[in-house]
Structure formats: structure tokens, C-alpha cells
Symmetry: C2
């Protein structure tokens, strides 16, 4: 039902924008972005989803706002302050930057997030369903930072662990665990920062729509030193699966009060993380029983028909076995994602359907390959976990 409402509101707002295209009229109801630095007035967002930025740069020649793959020229006033706004942006969270005389830099007004391979600016266009990840007056879980030395990568690594409300007080309760991975050029901070995984679960647990669970968010980039030195490969071979199975899971089961069996372990990831975690679960069905692939599958990038006999070494060839081992296969896409993601996921779905393997598909209305798609995907997926 919510999706129908969202869809209607999109049609209405599209028509509204269209009628203004000629004169580019901007609705003057800008408010400071909800992810601004304390006390900062800019950047601002209006009801159309436009982003307005402002920066003092009296001697600059050109200042631009760079968002959604488009650069918008700002105008300088007589005090040397540059100001300007973007076209309407999709609902949700976007990375962006400023450009001053050819230098790409973070906006000094925004908070900073790791994504697109750098710590940089982010902005939030309030979404119709923002309540699902809002900081509400409900009991809150706790996000903890865990440092560990990885023998496999010979480096210090860290993960963030969400423990549900009550974890610190109810010392005899044990919990199931979701291992939740970020996408490419992102890191272990993404899901608990711009992803709001903690708030999404707090809300779902408060309403009784998800069972209390632990969420572990690690870094999907992991390489053995010898693989990093092997320059004959374009990309070094990833050892993330080894780190997760041999190092992270045993540590988590030792440190936290987990229910340490496959029926109480789920895994999911977004984009690159969806691809990684699909390989990991199919190689380790003794460890996990729930899979979530948000905006991706392990056949990325490609629209080639998948042969169940050979894809992932035939992991999906025995449908009965897959259905017995996997309680949920959850796939999702934003309706505005690039074609390659649809082609990839559809090729995987075709294979599942040929094999007569059940799965759940969630479509995030009017979002692209961005965090609102993934917040919504987690919101849907978490409700399916550990209910048996």
C-alpha cells in the first residue's frame, strides 16, 4: 500500500516539475539539510529535492556543485559568496562535492561519509517513508567498534556491531546474527552511518516486525599480503571470505552472546557486497541460512543466461537442496537503477525460476543505486529473518 502512495506522489511531482521546466522556477522553501554540521545553515534542501549550497570564496573564478553526475554553476554575490542549486534530486541520501577553480573538495557545511572511495559530503533529501530509519522514541540498540588483528591479511581491521536493545542488561539472552556488507568504494562505516541499520532495526524491533538480532558490519576489502604483491593480476584476489569465515565469525561468537548455528545466521550485502555474500553463502551453507542481495548478484555485471550447472560451481543445481538449506533468498533493486543491475539480477532470477527455486523480490520505488534503496531493502529483509 505504501508503494502505491509513493508511486502516485511521484507522478504528481513529476507533472509539477514539468510545468516549470521552461522558466526553471525554484520553490523557495529551502531548509538546512538534516545532515549538516552543527550550526551550519547550508547546504539546504527544498520540497522539490533541490540542493542549494553556499560558500565564501571571494577570489574564485568558478564554483560548482557536483551532484548526481551533473555540475551546477554557482553565482557570486558582491560579498564574494557563491550560491546556487541543483535540479531536483531523488529522495534519499546522495554523495556530492563542490568544485572551486578545478579542485574537487568537500562542502564545509555538510557532515562527511565514506563512499565513492573518499570521505566527503553527503546530503539527505527527506523521503516519504523516512520514518523507517528515523531516530524515534523507542528503545535503542548499541553500535560498537571492534578492532582485530587479521592473521590472513596481516593488518588491523575493524567491524561495527549492532546489539539490540536489552543486550547489555539481559545477560542470559542469546541472539541470531546478520552479517551485513557494504558496496564497492565504501567501507565498514556505511551501514551504521548513512545506512542507519541500527535505527532501522530499533524501529522494527519496537514494532515487533523483526526479532532482536545482532548485526555485524565488516570491511569487504581484504587481501593477503602475497596477493597484493602479485602485480600480474588486474585486481588482487579477495580473501574476504576467509577473513569472515575463519576470523570474524569465530570472534563474534566468542565475544557476543550469539546463537552460533546456521539457522541463526543470515548474510546480506549491497552491490559488490551482494555479489560477495552470495558466493560466501553458497560456499558455506553450513554457516548461514538466509541470503539478501541488495542491488546485485554474483553474476554481476552481465545479462548472459546463467547455467545452474556451472554458475558458482553448480551451487544452485540441486533445487531441493538449496530450498532445504536457504530459508530466504531475498533480492532487491531500485526502480531507477542503471540497466546493468536489472539485467544482472534478472538473469539470476531467470535461473532461479527455471530451477523452481523460491525467492523474494523487493522493488524500491523511484530510487537508484543509492542508500535509500538499501535502507528500504534492509527494512524488508530484516522482517523475514529468524522467524522459524
Amino acid at each position: 500500500m505504501r508503494h502505491q502512495i509513493l508511486l502516485l506522489s511521484f507522478i504528481f511531482s513529476s507533472a509539477f516539475c514539468f510545468s516549470q521546466t521552461g522558466e526553471e522556477k525554484v520553490v523557495e522553501d529551502f531548509e538546512p539539510s538534516v545532515v549538516n554540521q552543527p550550526g551550519k545553515e547550508f547546504p539546504k534542501v527544498n520540497s522539490e529535492g533541490r540542493v542549494r549550497v553556499q560558500i565564501e570564496a571571494p577570489e574564485a573564478n568558478t564554483v560548482q556543485l557536483d551532484i548526481g553526475g551533473v555540475k551546477y554553476d554557482l553565482q557570486k554575490d558582491d560579498k564574494g559568496v557563491w550560491i546556487g542549486e541543483s535540479a531536483p534530486q531523488d529522495e534519499g541520501f546522495h554523495y556530492y562535492q563542490l568544485n572551486i577553480d578545478g579542485a574537487s573538495i568537500p562542502d564545509p557545511g555538510s557532515k562527511y561519509y565514506y563512499g565513492a572511495g573518499r570521505w566527503g559530503s553527503g546530503i539527505e533529501i527527506p523521503a516519504n517513508d523516512k520514518e523507517i530509519y528515523a531516530l524515534n522514541n523507542v528503545p535503542h540498540g548499541t553500535v560498537s567498534e571492534n578492532l582485530y588483528f587479521s592473521e590472513i591479511t596481516q593488518q588491523w581491521r575493524r567491524n561495527f556491531v549492532y546489539t539490540p536493545p536489552g543486550y547489555f542488561e539481559n545477560l542470559d539472552k542469546e541472539y541470531p546474527v546478520l552479517y551485513l556488507q557494504h558496496g564497492s568504494y565504501e567501507d565498514e562505516t556505511g551501514w551504521s552511518s548513512q545506512g542507519h541499520a541500527n535505527l532501522i532495526l530499533d524501529n522494527l524491533i519496537a514494532s515487533g516486525d523483526a526479532v532482536p538480532m545482532i548485526i555485524v558490519m565488516d570491511n569487504g576489502y581484504a587481501y593477503r599480503p602475497e596477493d597484493l604483491e602479485n602485480t600480474s593480476e588486474n585486481r588482487p584476489r579477495s580473501s574476504f571470505e576467509n577473513v569472515l569465515i575463519e576470523e570474524v565469525i569465530p570472534q563474534i561468537d566468542h565475544k557476543f552472546r550469539t546463537i552460533a548455528d546456521r539457522e541463526h545466521r543470515a548474510i546480506a550485502g549491497l552491490s559488490m557486497g551482494a555479489s560477495q555474500t552470495m558466493s560466501i553463502i553458497m560456499n558455506n551453507l553450513d554457516h548461514f541460512s538466509y541470503y539478501g542481495g541488495f542491488s546485485g548478484t554474483a553474476n554481476f555485471p552481465g545479462d548472459k543466461e546463467l547455467d545452474a550447472g556451472t554458475f558458482l560451481n553448480g551451487a544452485f543445481s540441486n533445487a531441493e537442496d538449496v530450498e532445504e538449506k536457504l530459508n530466504v533468498i531475498f533480492l532487491s533493486l531500485g526502480t531507477k537503477e542503471a540497466e546493468v543491475f536489472f539485467k544482472t539480477v534478472n538473469a539470476f532470477r531467470d535461473m532461479l525460476e527455471k530451477q523452481d527455486i523460491e525467492y523474494v523480490l523487493y522493488s524500491s520505488p523511484e530510487t537508484g543505486h543509492e542508500w535509500l534503496t538499501w535502507r528500504r531493502s534492509l527494512y524488508q529483509y530484516a522482517q523475514l529473518l529468524f522467524n522459524e
Copy 2:
């Protein structure tokens, strides 16, 4: 002994710099800063403590590095890349920024920290004693983020809580608690980010030089809505003491396995936090028994003689009572701090000495009003806590 070694090495490096002053010769042994963003080559630091930055800004007129209160002009090469370096900086952590054609902006190469009232660039000049806050191969504690709604401020607030190694596994052990506050224009992230409070304690606990303890790091800015609305005051009245005593401590004692009595509670703060926490402890001697004031005291700013009978409502007037209630009064200063800090702390020390009240004074060699002073202060102070 360590201090003597530090002092000698400073004399040597000062002499070395001095001999080069005429020609401004720069030692070409720059290495990427240890707090750079992943994969970023710049900013770099050399053995003299100079900071070299680089940024592509082909159309810019002027680009400067702004660090330590001085702006250094960069030079542009024929590809539009600007490069240049500062004079030698003190050991330790410094906030800095770039300036492009009059715009003050974060360096896209560095990680970002909250300080000086903004999220911005930080850099680390490796210190002689950097081992005290290094990420070593010892058992590590955990830093947790706790969200809470404050009825006093009518806002969501958060604190970070360090729990020592073993906290999550040894479920019948209870711990003493240190409440540790940041300085002005900083926030609750400072001590566990640029302050490395967690690593300092991990190292001290591993070597047996500090007892395992919990550390709570909250935000020292807290105002009732009605006080924020009262525009007749220059600064709104702070309600941090109420938030800490009435809200934070009860929550911490409920959520964490604390030893909830005054003998097992310490408080400390840096700069503004030193001033705040001195008032708080003297108003609440039923709650705390250890005080640490790093680079500040409650009489800041001032060199006026303190009257024990009136200062903080006569809290220090009965020496016997103070000595009975306070196990430790710890004060610290960096030897390069501005005069106002020396005058302030010395006026307070004079009062203590007149009253014949014992205290510990720590001097951080060759550091200013910056984080290396405070890391070292915590390192010293934590060793004095909860030993009785």
C-alpha cells in the same frame, strides 16, 4: 626518565632547524600522514614535522595551507597541481585546513575530525612517545555509541563508552567508571577519535599500569530549551551538570556493569571540560572521588588570587574534608601552552598549596593546548585511578 629523553631530543631538533633557517632547506623525507584517507599520498609529514600538502586546482589564483595559525602559500606546477609545506610543527595532532581563493575548506586527502567547531582536516606529527597511544598487539576494549533522549534538554544526545578488554565475555565482573570530557568547540567524538582514549587504556591495562575501567565520553554542551530561548544572556546557562548527574550516570549504571559508588567513579576533562568537571565534582562529592583537569581549572580565564572561602562556594575551604573525599587531584599543562592557561592553573595551585591540599601536576614536554598534551595527561591520570 622518558621526559628527560624527550627534552634532549627537542633541544637537538631545535638546533638542527635553527642552522637551516637562512636558506629554509627542507628535509626531503616526507611520508604520507598516518591519518590520511585510504590510498591518499598527501598530506605528508617529514622528520622536521613539516606538513606538505598537494591539491589539483588548475584555475585557482591562490592556494594556502592554514595550520598552527599561519597560512603558507602553495606553488602551482604546469599541470595545475598546487604543492607546498609548513614550517616544522609540534609533535602530535593538529587541526588544519586549506584555503582556495578565499574559501576555507577541508583537505580532500586527510581524515576528518570534530574540533575548532567544525568537521575538518587533522594531521599527526609522529611523537617520540607515540607508543602510549599506538594500536598495539594487546587485547582491545570496545567503544560503543549510546543514544539517549534527554528530558532536560529535550533532545537526542549520545555518548561513547569504552569498555575494557573482557567486558563482553566476563559477565560477572563489575568495573569502575571514568567520565571524560572534551574541550570547547569539540564534541563527544574527540576522546575516542583524535584522543585515542581507548588505545591509551588498552595499552595501560595490558602492561598492568591501569586497572580495567569503563570510560564514558559525553557531549559537554547541554542546554534547557528555555535557557536557549533566553536571549538576554550572552551565553545560555549550561545544564550539563544536570544531564550528567541526573541522566547519564543513572543510565550508565543501569546499562553497564559498573561499581556504582563514589569510590569507583572518576571525572576528568580537558580545557573547558577541565573547568566543567571541577565544578561538577565539587558539587557532587557523593558521586566522584577522583578529579583530573587537563589544561584548565574552574577559575579559567584568570590569574587572580583565589580565595578558598569563596571559590566554587568554598568547596576547597575545608582541606581535611577535601583530602578525605578526593583521592586524587590531578592537574596538567603542556609546556608550550599560552600564558593564560599557566596563570589560571597556577592561581588554582597557589590556592591548593595555601590550603595544604595535595595534588599531582603533570607537564607535557613541548606541547601546546592540543591533543598530545591531553593524550599524555590521560595516560598519566589513568594510572592513578582506582588503586586503593
